[in-house]
Every structure is written in structure tokens, then in C-alpha cells.
Symmetry: C3
């Protein structure tokens, strides 16, 4: 796979300070023609699950050969490893703490390497900012064509966050909220297509035993202020309030159990 010259950034650094800017400066010092795309820098600080979900939702929409860097790294400076992963379509660079794992959940992993070769780092390596000193220059070198094998020894596996599989049985499926987006939409791990033989029947959505809404095609299928569940842009069922925040108004958060089933005729 040839690198595409595109590097994406997914972090919890915020945008108020100079941290993201520096990461880009370091990349351009190594690879002056890299195209730099922000996925987000506003993840909840230290929340590896949010980072893993955002990266997984975003990465597939980039051209093959894109280098995806994700840094949610509460353990920076401690013993956690740093890795690069190559799949059939992309390169991934980040701490070995699970943040990369959902992005490659369904893909064939071709190679995993520890980042050990300091000649690809910005030195001296600080104890607090590996995005600048390790991940940025390594990503820039990968986008330049450096093979993963030059970066450090191959390893067999890496830290994987458990993906909470939805369970479906007959006309019901049970899952949970995985991510609450900026609009307050509660994105679940449920896929309507997984519900067998629902064949166009009306589907209802329950939380804690109570029906909170029905499944529809789009947000405005319900009047303003009402709840609706739609298959969101990430392919998963998400619960929304037309013009409002479902998370707030329906008291949903990451981990809230969600059940969908056919409405009894």
C-alpha cells in the first residue's frame, strides 16, 4: 500500500492552546507536503473509548493509504507502549492503550510494530508530549514511505478495548449507548440490519423498560421536540430529539442499555 500523503489527527488536546499546532509543525518539518486533517481535538480528556469510537467512525471515509494518528494518552510518560498498525487500507499510529483498536476491529491487520527506533523521533523525547515527539514524526515518516519494519520490532497483538457486541434474538436486539455526540444524539452499537426479519414492521426503542421512541428514516420524521431513532451516519442506530438533546432529555449516557423490537401488532 502506497501512503496517500494524508495524515489525520484525533486527540483530546483541545484547541485553546498550541499543542495541535506544534504537532502539525513537527509533521511538516519531516514531510513538507503532508495533507493534515483534523478529525477532532475535543474528545473528553483521557476518554479512550470516545477516541476509539471517533477514530473508527471517521477513518473509513479517507482515501486508502491515509495515516491516522490518534492520541488520547492519559498514560503518557509511563510504561504504555507506542505502536503503528498497518491494515489493507490504512496506517494507524498512537499509544498502545486501546484507542486504535475499534478502528481496526473488522479489518485484517497486516503488521503491528512497536515504535522503538528513536532516529524517527524528535529528540530529546519529553515525558509529557509524545504526540509531538513520537507520534507526529513517525506518522510523517510513514507518509513519506518509511516501512513499519524500520520503526521497531513487530509484535503479535496490541491492547484492544472490548467492543460491546449487541445481542439479537428473534424480533429483539439489545445493545447500549457508545457515544454521545455534540448534538446530544446517543449513538448505540445496534444495527437495524441485524434485527432478523423485521420486514418493514414498526420498531420501538426502549431504555430501562420504557419506550422512548420509534425507529424512523430521518430526524424530521417526528415533530420538533420529539424523540426518534435513526440509523446514523456511522451505520449504528442513534437516538435523537428533533431540535434537542436526546442525552439530556432522555437521560442517556455511555453504557445506557437500549432495546429495539417490533411493535406488537
Amino acid at each position: 500500500m502506497k501512503p496517500a500523503g494524508i495524515i489525520t489527527l484525533t486527540t483530546d488536546f483541545g484547541r485553546r492552546d498550541w499543542f495541535v499546532g506544534i504537532v502539525k509543525g513537527v509533521i511538516l518539518g519531516v514531510n513538507p507536503s503532508a495533507r493534515l486533517i483534523d478529525v477532532t481535538h475535543d474528545l473528553p480528556p483521557g476518554d479512550i473509548g470516545y477516541g476509539a469510537f471517533a477514530l473508527a467512525a471517521a477513518c473509513q471515509f479517507f482515501p486508502p493509504g491515509t495515516v491516522h494518528v490518534a492520541v488520547v494518552d492519559p498514560g503518557v510518560g509511563s510504561a504504555r507502549g507506542a505502536i503503528a498498525i498497518q491494515t489493507g487500507k490504512f496506517f494507524f499510529v498512537g499509544p498502545d492503550n486501546g484507542v486504535l483498536s475499534w478502528a481496526v476491529r473488522k479489518d485484517k491487520v497486516i503488521a503491528i510494530h512497536k515504535l522503538k527506533n528513536e532516529s524517527f523521533f524528535l529528540r530529546p523525547v519529553s515525558a509529557t508530549f509524545h504526540a509531538r515527539d513520537v507520534f507526529a514524526p513517525v506518522a510523517a515518516h510513514i507518509a513519506n514511505g518509511t516501512p513499519l519494519s524500520a520503526l521497531g520490532p513487530p509484535i503479535n497483538d496490541f491492547v484492544r478495548l472490548v467492543w460491546p457486541e449487541a445481542r439479537s434474538c428473534g424480533g429483539e436486539a439489545v445493545g447500549q449507548v457508545l457515544y454521545v455526540d455534540n448534538f446530544g444524539n446517543a449513538i448505540t452499537n445496534l444495527e437495524v440490519s441485524a434485527l432478523e426479519n423485521h420486514g418493514g414492521a414498526t420498531l420501538e426503542v426502549l431504555n430501562a423498560g420504557e419506550r422512548i421512541c420509534y425507529v424512523a428514516e430521518f430526524y424530521q420524521a417526528v415533530p420538533a421536540g420529539e424523540a426518534v431513532a435513526v440509523t446514523g451516519s456511522s451505520g449504528f442506530l442513534e437516538i435523537a430529539i428533533n431540535g434537542g438533546s436526546a442525552a439530556k432529555e432522555l437521560d442517556l449516557a455511555v453504557g445506557s442499555e437500549i432495546l429495539i423490537r417490533k411493535v406488537a401488532p
Copy 2:
């Protein structure tokens, strides 16, 4: 007009999630050399008027041939159309709900086309994210040189938001607040040049019958904490507090009536 290879983005998606990143990934998949510029992604969700004003204020400062994409799209998935507009200077792409209309208010429109040709879309087209599936790839194709006529049938007109014209009569002009910016400055539809024969006289600014400030050349013409009206960077009179928020302290919002007139000698 030759495309400039520049695509601007004006949305209400926020920056906390991956939505803007994906839109850029899709564009780069179609047009790897596109220059991507964020105008804003922090418009009040669903506020078409704010989007229309921001696009109109920003678009003129880009090179000819720029493709401007604006997506404030509360009706995504419903029956609202999707369009591309070509003027003498720019291309515009977005939902046909008025968000593009103030940007082309004073320009000669050369062509308007419905976006109907699905071969330019990312398929399958979702019901919730047309920025990704329709507007991004179409904009990338336009920046690649695809003529609007390939995108779908020409139409004669599109949804236009009413532009609230200021009225001037003798030494007075009456208008209203159209936009409150990040600093709390209240931007109006009043142009000082429209006030006939004011010839350097001191001008006072009134809201609800009370004088709130005078017109001056720049913010610091008044002491810190005091109100002033200046011709802002968009060419319209804006009411500011030097070092504070005029909207908050003077209780101004979109729609607040503003009158300017010569001070009685």
C-alpha cells in the same frame, strides 16, 4: 470560470465529533489536491439565517473560482432539494433552504442546478448526512472541473431568505440586528454610507427609543466598558462594547431594531 482548487466549509456540525473530518476525507478521495478552508462549524444548530450571513460575509474574500459549501440543514433527509449555484465569481453548494441565498444576493447568478446525478454522490446516500454523501463529493467534482450541467437539471430559482432591507429617510436610517458574533458585537443591516448627507456630523444609535451609543471609527474610540458603533469588517454597522459584550450588556439580539441619526445640533 476555472475552479481555484479551494473548497470552503460553513456548517453547524460543531468540532467535537468526526463529522467535519469525514467531509474532508470524502473530498480528498475525489480531489486529492483540494485546499480545504473552514469558515466555521460552530453556527447555532439549525440556524439558517446565521449560516446565510456567515457565508455572505466570508465568501467574497476568497479567490475567484472557490467552491463554497454551506450546510445548515435541519431538513436533511426530508423533501428539501440540494443545489449548486454558479455566479460570475464563485460556486456554491448546499441544501436549497436559503442558506446560500444571502451570499449571492447582489451577484449575477449564471446557473442553478439541482443535484440529482447520483454518480457524483457517495453511495448509498444516508438519510442523515448529506454533507458527506452529496455536498462533499459534488463540491470536490466541481473543484475538479465538472460543469454544473452534469450534476442535474437546471432550475430557474431557489429558496431565498428575505433580506431585511434597512430603510433610510432624510437624516435617519432604521434597520435591525442580523448576527451576534463571538465577541457579542451586534452586526446590523445598516450601512453608514446609506445615510444621506450626514457629512461628518456626529451620529447617534438608538434601540427601543433610547440612545445606546454614537458612531465612531474604531472600538477603542471609547473607554473600556463603553458602547460604540463602528462600520465592521463586513461593511455593516455593528454595535460593540470596548472589551465587553454589547449583545449581553445592551440586551440586543437578532431582530432588535436599530436607528441611526444625526445628533441634533
Copy 3:
């Protein structure tokens, strides 16, 4: 020094409106191939010290020949000057109000020029938005190779913010908080290396006569919720709460006095 084709932007404009987008549009009109990097646009409005610190912390990590634009400009439209500075490594463009001064504090200044030649401006120059009308086009021309001497007359000096030097004496050093970052970390002007002969001894950190934490290598050297001081990515000692906000929980702000010293054996 040859320009690198990279222009960075450090401002207090916020991202909610179209101001940053316009600045980029103007730059691309002059220099279509410029690489545009946001350092930050979320500085506290009008806070020149924050701007000076952010620019100084960020600028060194960009390739030689980068043009750094910093605009925190409460005096826009008044008598304050506009300048460009060339050092051995970078170009700097901004208002002459101190915002550029900490970035060049330790560097040899090769040239300082007033921005006076209006043929490099976007005209007419507004009274409220010199980033658009003066600094953006001038930076784009510098990145195009225009020498500073073409921009206006050379000057001998420019407005410099006083850099509060830390004082160290024997086993103690006294400094102050200069910047509070997005995570609530309180960044000081203290450098551990400046503390003579500390030779690996444990160091304690005091504010207002009370010990608030010890110096360690990285944030997670202490349990979650506890305070720690580390040498941050800018090279200065910063006081953090592992997983929290040191500024809030320890009541630290810009100007808070910080003392470090060896713990008595």
C-alpha cells in the same frame, strides 16, 4: 533565509464566526500554495500575554522559514504600529504591541520593519480588521519571497513585554505562573535545570508559603486527583492535577508566585 511556504496563525478571534476563514481566503488570494496552520484562535480576547506565550511555545517547532502571524490586537485602528520581524529562523508578522516579543526573546533579530507600504495591503484598509487587510496579505507576500525591506522602513526596536525572570539562589528558585492551559495546568517561568546542584534530590513546590506538590517526571507519577509538577512540553515547570484542573483546585492563576526547593533531608 528562504520562506518555507508555511504560515501559522495565532489569534483571539474564536472559531464561531468567519474571521479566521476570511484571513485564510485573503492569504490564498496572494499565495495560492501557502500551507496554513492554526496555532490557536481561542486565546482570551485581548490578552497579549497569553498570545505572546502561546506563540513563543509553538513557533520553535515549525520548519525554518515559517511565517508566524500573531494577532491579539485590542488597539486595532488606533495608533499602535504594525511590524514584521526576521530572525535567523523565522518571520513574524503582527501588531507592535508585545504579542511577538516573547517568541523572539532569545533569538538574534536580523530585521524589524514597519508595515507601511500599502501596495501589499488589501485596500481599503478597515479600522477593525487588520488581520484581514494588513497582516494576512503581508504574511502571504513574505511567504512568496518579498523581502521585509519592501514592506516599510526598518526600525530599531519594537514593543517588548517584560519577561518575568525566575530568580534562583542556592537551592531555591522563585517564579510565577505565566499561562493556564486548557487542562488547567499552570505553566510557570521556572526551569528545573536552573536550580543549581539539585542533583536528583526531591524537590517540593510551594505557593503562598504552602507546599502544593512535588516535582516528578510525568503526570501519572501521582495517583488520580493528586497534584504534581513536571517539566512540561514548553520546557517550563508546570503544575498539574492528574485527571483534574490544577488552576481551579489549587487556586492558581497568571501571576501566582511559585517556589521550588530541595526538600530538607
